[in-house]
Amino acid sequence: MESIMTLDRVGASYDGKPALEDISMEIFPHSITAIIGPSGCGKSTLLRCMNGLLKEESGAAVSGNILLKGQDIVKMEPEEVRRRVGLVFQTPSPFPFSIYKNMTYALRYYGVKDKKELDRQVKEKLQMAGLYDEVAQELDKSAHKLSGGQQQRLCIARALTVEPEILLLDEPCSALDVKSSSVIEKMLTQLKEKYTIVIVTHNIAQARRISDHVAFLFGGKLIEFAPAKQIFSQPKEEETKAFLEGIYG
């Protein structure tokens, strides 16, 4: 299978202090890749490299090559990279507008003005995120009045409005209860039909349930990258084994 994104010896540092070193891996289309590892191992940093958002932070530097469909993202317009590689944050962060306005925020930026088209997109993406039935009657309600789980699904739906090729999720369930988490997990497995998903999680059980490929990061280095089945049944590296057995986390 041909990869949609290739990371080639990617490194990152904050103020000269290395956070990631020599990461080479591939992201395969229509699959869920889980990035796991203990806290502070660079999972979120790696995710932010993938859509170029890390460069926005002062003091941060990225090295190595990241290719999106063979094209170096450094040579692309940053806005273009971020449109094609969406990112959803750990804590739900809806804009302080109505649900409808949250959903049309980016569409308006890209020049979609037609009301019918906007309505259609809002409905379609909310349905994909499994939120439409819950909020169909109250699209004008402030997004902050939704529950945490609903807010996070709104953020995912909002990220889908720009039709990203890859959707990055940074521990999307860590602030949510078990039920909301399982709703999101189910939704993600459906979304991979259409999109490519990369999810950072420190919940090993979650990675086991939904992922097709797993990357295990430890101390800023990629220890092991393999199909999920293999990594969970026969991890090659000692560190991976220890992490999966819960020795550190």
């Binding site: 958002l53 971020r82 962060s93 807010q151």
Partner: protein
């Protein structure tokens, strides 16, 4: 309780009581002394009489003060907010940031009479704008720029970073994010900072003594005319000695009422829009 803790507590209570008492006394005294002078005529007529302020009112000074303040607000807040936006969302070079911060601090350290001198020699004389509202407005704008900039920068810093990054993550440009997320979300705090800056400008006398405020003028019709201003009027009345003490207190009454009212409006506005934009 430990005696140190107890002492600190009493000290805090005492200071709070003292500060409140001073403020209440100050406002009470001015309002008490000025209240008798306040009348419809005083508020709506021009000063008249052989000695300034002996008869008539302060209407041109009220309008003049509002004009000076509005000019200062327009000229000062736009660069102040733009600077704050640049500092928080655009500039990534720490040295440049440090330099800008230092410049802003230096501006806030300039004595206001020096700003008056600068505006007088450069705008009034060299550029030949003459003594007018605009000349004073520029001096006042420079004076309140750091005041507004510091508040705006703080407000921008307090915005949840993920809200801004979410917009970037959708591929939206910084410019779009500034106009559609950042400025609307900070509107209340920004407006309140601008109004407080305006109050500061309204009370300042030194920058306009030589540049635009005059002892007597009718209600101004353009920015290129000199005008009366409340603090300047108050200064002149006081300088005349006991003859115009009552009008001086009346003028002070009006000025403090205006400032108090603006402060109140700023607070209410900031609180209301904060509630609306409250981020959970």
């Amino acid at each position: 309780m430990h005696w140190q803790a107890r002492l600190t507590k009493y000290w805090a209570y005492l200071s709070m009581g003292l500060v409140t008492a001073i403020i209440l006394f100050l406002f009470g005294y001015v309002f008490y002394r000025g209240a008798d002078t306040i009348s419809w005529e005083f508020l709506t007529q021009a000063p008249s009489g052989a000695v300034l302020g002996e008869e008539g009112g302060i209407w041109p000074a009220i309008v003049g003060s509002i004009c000076f303040t509005a000019t200062a607000i327009v000229l000062g807040s736009i660069p102040a907010i733009a600077t704050a936006l640049y500092m928080v969302f655009y500039c990534k070079n720490r040295r440049i940031k440090g330099l800008i911060r230092m410049v802003v601090q230096c501006i806030s350290g300039i004595p206001s009479i020096v700003l008056g001198l600068f505006a007088y020699s450069f705008l009034v004389r060299d550029l030949a704008w003459g003594r007018c509202i605009l000349s004073s407005g520029v001096a006042l704008a420079i004076m309140i720029l750091p005041f507004i900039e510091v508040r705006a920068e703080k407000t921008f810093h307090e915005l949840p970073p993920q809200m801004v990054q979410s917009s970037y993550a959708l591929g939206c440009s910084r410019w779009y994010t500034v106009w559609n997320i950042i400025l609307p979300a900070c509107k209340g705090e920004l407006v309140s900072g601008i109004i407080l800056g305006g109050c500061y400008a309204m009370g300042a006398t030194a920058p306009m003594i030589f540049t635009g405020a005059v002892a007597y003028a009718s209600v101004p019709k353009s920015l290129m005319e000199p005008a009366m201003a409340l603090p300047m009027h108050l200064y002149l009345l006081l300088a005349q000695g006991t003859t115009s003490m009552d009008t001086a207190y009346g003028t002070a009454f009006v000025m403090m009422a205006l400032i108090l009212l603006s402060n109140l409006l700023a607070t209410i506005y900031a609180r209301r829009s904060q509630k609306k934009w409250k981020v959970s």
